[in-house]
Amino acid sequence: MNPFSEKTMEQIAAIIKKYPEGKHKSALLPVLHLAQRERNGYLSVETMNEVAAMLNLEPVEVYEVATFYSMFNLQPVGRFVLEVCRTSPCCIVGGEQIMDYLKQKLSISEGETTPDGLFTIKPMECLGSCGTGPVLQILEKFYENLTEAKIDEIIADCKQQHAVLN
């Protein structure tokens, strides 16, 4: 039985081919990214065990890696994870105020999820977007030069997207 969708399994097979024979452990980070996307944005112990079995690794080899990298979530998260940069170059152009506004608007703190399960605020270190900060990311998409009005728009868009998908 394949633990993941057919499309993901195909992608995983292609990823493993990038590395030399016997070095399939190299596929671990890209595979964990795919697994997290398919499993509601986080890696449960069960998911990690499945990845371990698939790549022929000991479960601990997966746990120790998953816990090291900040893009992997080990607890359930909201449908939209707002990854907000908190590092100096963003902070000195209004990043702190943006974070405060977001927290107040969603009535949650950093690291928390709204009770409706829609939003998680995840503070991040420099996202490589300092020239267009303040910045936040939702999956691979960057939202740059943030203002309070833009935050309102982003939140409204997410809510609409959620309504359409449900």
Binding site: L29, S70, S88, P89, C126, G128, G131, Q137
Partner: protein
């Protein structure tokens, strides 16, 4: 007109499409290298050009290549470092987004020089959208015969693969990067052995920054002598500088090394001066790890000479009055920014990003963060400032990788140049912790 290498044609056409890139002479260095130069000759050219690593350390690229162990009997690897996580740095992102083929072209010629048949681009996971751009570019290069088996009909073959990281600044350090590429935690290795001898999968490996590799085609096409005429002294060529913070026009600029810092900040061609009519207070000129400089030492060296954007000029005066060119992450602070808060912010970053292998780095960054937060929130005392100094001094030089130093230097330089501001927080806690409080005591250094 200043010479441009990376951004000469960006904006004129969509260079992510290989047809457009070819129109501007793209991939001609691959033909030139494979048809007319031996791998050793390519290495020699790059060495003579004076090209230095653009990832931060500024080590001679040709020299590094010549250390590659050719006798091990194991395959050699080229790894492109696209982890770009040093706060203030976003130039590699720009280059990969708008000129991905230039990186691929540079990688092909470099891999040929190293006799590597497999190359990886290790890109930070947050740049996920760039993976798509790079993989499309790789497919186009394949279709045109610049990649794959028997490139341009020659006996040389190469595959390039893109590999995502997953959010860890330390994976920019080359040995941590290799561990991560092997599917492990990003714990730096003890050096020696260096990657040139024991790198990816234990094989000889060269790790180079995106911008370093992208400079290679120009050098091969125009010759090392032409490259060496750009720049000043041992700082040859052009450099991408990512400007951010409180300047009018943030962004990525290509400069000829040797441009005066003052011109870079105030000329309309570059940053266009300070934003919102504020004054220049301080600058971290080479990414968060390098020492912060107050305005007067940023624009002029201690000897009163104009400070230039070169490895040598920015380092002039040592850490007492100088800094480093680093990665080219140029962070500018106006007179309303608080140096204590900024130092606390950076220290939190290093605490968060420490891999935890060495106690001075793991514990020291945490202690410094706590003490800085104490001072910033008005609860510090004078002895805390000395304690901070003492901790950073004990981290520097006592760790496996340079992240420890990188965490110590911002603290040391902030205390060295802005001690009065730390003291003001201690002696005037009520005033210093008011929202938007501005310290006006050191206007001497504000320009």
């Amino acid at each position: 007109m200043p010479q441009k290498i990376f951004l000469e044609h960006t904006g004129k056409a969509d260079l992510t499409q290989i047809e457009h890139y070819l129109k501007f002479g793209g991939y001609s260095s691959v033909a030139k290298a494979l048809n007319t130069l031996t791998p050793e000759e390519v290495v020699a050219e790059v060495k003579k050009s004076g090209l230095r690593g653009r990832g931060g350390a500024g080590f001679s690229t040709g020299m590094k290549w010549s250390f590659l162990d050719k006798k091990s009997g194991n395959p050699a690897y080229l790894v492109c470092n696209a982890d770009e996580s040093e706060p203030g740095t976003f130039k590699d992102r720009y280059l990969m987004e708008f000129n991905p083929h230039m990186l691929l072209e540079g990688m092909i010629v470099s891999a040929y020089a190293l006799a590597a048949n497999t190359a990886y681009i290790y890109i930070r996971g947050e740049y996920w959208y760039l993976i798509d751009i790079l993989e499309k570019a790789i497919a186009q290069a394949h279709a045109k015969g610049f990649l794959g088996k028997n490139i341009l009909g020659k006996p040389y073959s190469l595959e390039i693969y893109v590999h995502p990281g997953a959010g860890a600044y330390i994976c920019g350090e080359e040995t941590a990067l290799l561990e991560s590429l092997e599917g492990k935690r990003g714990n730096p290795r003890i050096k020696p052995p260096f990657p040139a001898v024991y790198g990816l999968y234990g094989c000889p490996t060269v790790v180079n920054n995106v911008e370093t590799l992208a400079a290679v085609p120009w050098i091969i096409n125009n010759g090392s002598a032409a490259y060496a005429t750009i720049g000043i002294g041992a700082s040859t060529g052009t450099k991408l500088i990512s400007a951010c913070g409180n300047v009018k026009k943030r962004g990525v600029y290509e400069i000829e090394l040797g441009l005066p810092v003052e011109e870079f900040i105030f000329s309309d061609e570059y940053c266009g001066g300070m934003a919102n009519g504020k004054k220049l207070k301080a600058c971290v000129p080479g990414g968060s790890s390098v020492p912060v400089l107050p305005a007067h030492l940023l624009l002029k060296t201690e000897k009163g000479e104009p400070r230039l954007l070169t490895y040598e000029s920015l380092a002039d005066g040592g850490f007492k009055t100088g800094s480093m060119l680093g990665s080219g992450g140029f962070i500018v602070y106006d007179h309303e920014q608080c140096m204590v808060r900024n130092t606390w912010n950076f220290t939190r970053f290093y605490r968060h990003e420490s891999c935890g292998q060495c106690s001075p780095c793991r514990e020291g960054t945490g202690w410094m963060e706590k003490i800085l937060y104490k001072i910033e929130t008005g609860k510090g005392n004078m002895a805390d400032i000395d304690l901070l100094w003492d901790i950073q001094r004990r981290i520097e030089g006592n760790t496996i990788c340079p992240l420890g130093d990188a965490a110590a230097w911002p603290v040391a330089s902030a205390i060295r140049h802005f001690r009065h501001e730390f003291e003001w927080h201690v002696t005037n806690p009520a005033e210093a912790t008011k929202p938007g409080a501005v310290y006006n005591g050191n206007l001497l250094s504000v320009v």
